[in-house]
């Protein structure tokens, strides 16, 4: 399956890329996406996850075509 992965703000700088596309069948959850997209980088404290632009948890299931984003706590307003 194909998953689009996005990193924002300080996580983008930590991981060293803004987005990547994963084409593999070895993915079941957002945690798997993190591992493969970051080459097993340690998880970041307070990291937030969104699947298809809705907040999600690392154990949430992903499916073909999903967009998965990782980012730090938000600071708008």
């Amino acid at each position: 399956m194909s998953i689009t992965v996005k990193f924002f703000a300080s996580l983008r700088e930590t991981i060293g890329k803004a987005d990547v596309t994963l084409d593999t069948d070895n993915i079941a959850t957002a945690a798997d996406v993190w591992k493969i997209a970051t080459h097993h980088h340690d998880r970041i404290n307070n990291m937030l996850i969104a699947i298809n632009m809705e907040y999600a948890s690392l154990d949430e299931t992903v499916k073909d075509g999903d967009e998965v984003a990782f980012f730090p706590p938000v600071t708008g307003g």
């Binding site: 703000a9 984003a69 980012f71 730090p72 938000v74 600071t75 708008g76 307003g77």
Partner: protein
Amino acid sequence: MSVELRGEPFDPWQALQTHQNAKPELAGKFGATSIFVGTMRDFNDGNDVQAMTLEHYPAMTQKHLEAIANEAGQRWDLLDTLIIHRYGDIRPNDPIVLLAVWSAHRSESFPACRYLIEELKTRAPFWKQETTGANSHWVEHNTPG
């Protein structure tokens, strides 16, 4: 209900007037307009701040601001809601966000406006990067309201 993300500086008071003038159907119906304008300070957490860049996740930001505005409309009896939020390069004294709520009575508009800003600050995907002196750093948390 209107939600706008803007990459250039804007005048919230002009935007407010323009929005209201474009809604003649509201005339005579609203008795209360509650407004929140968030403006960039030149200090934060004890540091002098020269500039700021506001990053966002465009489609998700738009989606969640619209969701927050819709929730406010379900919780309170509102006639209209306007959200304008900046992204990109921002300077001290630049407005960052305008929130405006129109209702028949203040008992609806005040709590709705407060709801918009508090929900926005915890749910809308924006990230501030401040420039202090020769350095820049990501703001890691919101300041207490």
